[in-house]
Subunit: 61 residues, 2 copies
């Protein structure tokens, strides 16, 4: 997922991004590190939090 | 995910699709019904099994 790219485009830190998307403050850092095998429900929540489609979230991947 | 659309385009039944992608025979049926909160690792495996990108798997979603 393009979380870091999307987060950077909004100028959010990992903690700010986690809070805006409704996750624990350390969650986005762990997802970006690849340490989380996130579920589709979480992926939906991330896309909704960024206000984009799932297709956009996986653009180029 | 566009599993049913992709599966239909290949003319696969749900059981054939599960076997070709390396899952239990009933797995794809449950995913299509929305009964499975699949993980990103499984999503990667599904895209790879169809020979498409993640972006294509979520096209239009």
């Amino acid at each position: 997922m393009r979380i870091k790219e999307l987060r950077d485009s909004k100028g959010w830190t990992q903690v700010e991004c986690a809070e805006y998307l409704g996750f624990h403050p350390s969650y986005i850092a762990r997802v970006e590190l690849g340490g989380k095998n996130v579920t589709l429900a979480t992926i939906d929540k991330i896309a909704a939090g960024f206000g984009i489609s799932l297709e956009e979230l996986f653009k180029g991947l």
